[in-house]
Amino acid sequence: MTQTPMLEVRGLFKYFPVHQALLGSLTRRAHSSVKAVDDVSFALGHGEVLAVVGESGCGKTTIARTLIGLETPTNGEIVFDGKAVGARAKQPHISLKQLRQRAQMIFQDPYESLNPRATIFEIVAEPLVVHGMIKDRRERIAAVKSALEDAGLRPAEDYFMRYPHELSGGQRQRVVIASAMVLQPELLIADEPVSMLDVSIRAEILNLLRDLRQRRGISIVFITHDLSTVAYFADRIAVMYLGRIVEIGPAREVLKSPQHPYTKALISVAPVPNPRLRRERVILQGETPNPINLPTGCRFHPRCPVAIDICKVNDPQLIELSAGHQAACLLLTK
């Protein structure tokens, strides 16, 4: 790629220290840590939608929070539009505050992410206030109005003076989106934006995001555990397992011909809404191990249906299988 990507993540690590029990802290044993994100790199092009998929505990939400600076990376670099985020020593760099003007985050739970005591107008106008933009009252009202209408809340004036608890889940998520879009960001980080919503409303929100992306050309990092929603609008998919990307590639290709055994299993258990198409499912036994004591070798080997002996020893790296399609499995060769 010759063009600078919208976002580039290089060797990102995020470890959370574990608070030891009283005894442990008395004996001053070495502190262990939760390896939430363990050496992750990827790039996101302008106007591209990258879905980060995985089960809970795979580190996908930590990545989202780290991207927007809610967590400080333990190691690694986040480069936004060619500028290192927060790294003052580097040139060129961009401060967190500047980043947050150009990148916005949508949270999972629309019942929790809105201040219950603020009106919808205050909520949507807040990014403008925080960044001291559009100070003129009339222009500010117009900006809020158009953001709400773009998010499908019409007539916008009806919502200005209402409180979040007066709205349904779908409406609240629209408010969240309006508030994220009011600064006209270039990057949107969406952390499971529809997982708490009913099916019919889920479709509306996904359609809205797809629509915004088409009209505004914004890039989206879409965090989800649900492959079926990914299939719907991602350009590329990154599948995560225990803090690592195990497979990344163009969405259609990954879904049609998954290479990593974990991706294969995930796709096979995604529910298909047709009883005639009940498929053979690869149901992995056990659960994701805790990310404090990682398995040796390939971290997926204890649950892998096709693991062989070397998997217990060697830690596979991502290898390029075809243009832009990479997977980390020792059984794969180019």
Partner: protein, 319 residues
């Protein structure tokens, strides 16, 4: 902005509608309201001055006159009208109580927010101070403090001394309460969202944390008021009030000092006692009811099933 005003009125109306249905709350509100009105309109409620000596036809001071002989509540040992002392005393008691209560509330909330929001060393420091204040017995400490300050002859009114001492010693429970609430609020997603937007600490505290604390602060203030009034009465009863401007506590102090009980002058010591009870009971009833009303926020969740939906439907039909 007109819309804000209508919104405000709507909230007030909604509040009043719920409040009205609560009998205990109405009683509490009534008690507090009557006491406050009495204090404000004291001169209109009596024709005597509190320090005026009532004399009989022989121009002798009318001492320990029962209500049947003089006025509404008779006279005290020096011939002062008890009713007048009571209504003017309301001013002193309530002013000291309210001011001290507000200081305690303000200091407590501010320190609680700082401790809870920033955490770390500042939190430890503030919490250690509250620990120390909690283990020292209040009454002896206050007696010593008030007496010491008086000794210094700083030309401050004894009432101001009382206000400051009570206010600066009674913020600890508020601070702890507010701090624990801040600890939960700051973990909520809308605070994370505000940070993700790029908001600074001051903005987050003012716009996101404080509004969630308001119900707690209001409730706590009302309850602290009652404590402050009781403490003021206690200190004044022990003789630390301003003898030239008697509060209800001072009246009790006088009554006991001047053998009202052995004289059977119940009209001298019962009314201030009842007045203190009246106000503190009012505050406590009001505070408890406010707590009940303001704390459980209606947060029905969509996966909670139909019962939750009905709750939402109700909330919507109210709005």
């Amino acid at each position: 902005m007109g819309e804000h005003w209508t919104l405000f009125l709507r909230n007030i109306q909604e509040f009043w509608r719920t409040f009205r249905q609560n009998k205990l709350g109405m009683v509490g509100g009534f008690l507090v309201l009557v006491a406050t009105l009495t204090a404000i309109f004291a001169p209109a409620l009596t024709s005597y001055d509190a320090s005026e000596i009532i004399r009989d036809s022989n121009n002798r001071a009318l001492t320990f006159a029962p209500p049947s002989v003089h006025g509404i509540l008779g006279t005290d040992d020096a011939g002062h009208d008890v009713w007048s002392q009571l209504v003017y005393g309301a001013r002193i008691s309530l002013v000291v109580g309210f001011m001290a209560g507000f200081i305690a509330m303000f200091v407590g909330s501010a320190l609680g927010i700082v401790a809870g929001y920033f955490g770390g060393k500042i939190d430890s420091l503030i919490m250690r101070i509250t620990d120390v204040l909690l283990v020292i017995p209040d009454l002896p400490l206050m007696l010593v403090l008030v007496a010491t300050i008086r000794q210094m002859e700083l030309k401050i009114s004894p009432l101001v001394v009382l206000i400051i001492v009570i206010g600066l010693l009674y913020w600890t429970s508020t601070a702890r309460l507010i701090r624990s609430q801040v600890l939960t609020v700051k973990e909520r997603q809308f605070v994370a969202r505000a940070r993700a937007i790029g908001a600074g600490h001051w903005h987050i505290i003012r716009k996101h944390i404080l509004p969630q604390l308001m119900p707690l602060i209001v409730t706590n203030t009302v309850l602290i008021l009652s404590t402050a009034i009781l403490i003021e009465s206690g200190l004044a009863f022990l003789g630390l009030g301003d003898p030239t401007r008697p509060s209800w506590g001072t009246m009790l102090n006088f009554a006991f000092d001047r053998s009202a009980i052995s004289n059977g002058a119940w009209w001298f010591y019962l009314p201030p006692g009842i007045a203190i009870l009246w106000v503190s009971l009012g505050c406590i009833l009001l505070g408890n009811v406010l707590e009940e009303m303001l704390n459980p926020r209606l947060t029905a969740h969509h996966l909670e099933g139909e019962a939750g939906m009905i709750a939402i439907a109700e909330a919507e039909s109210k709005g």
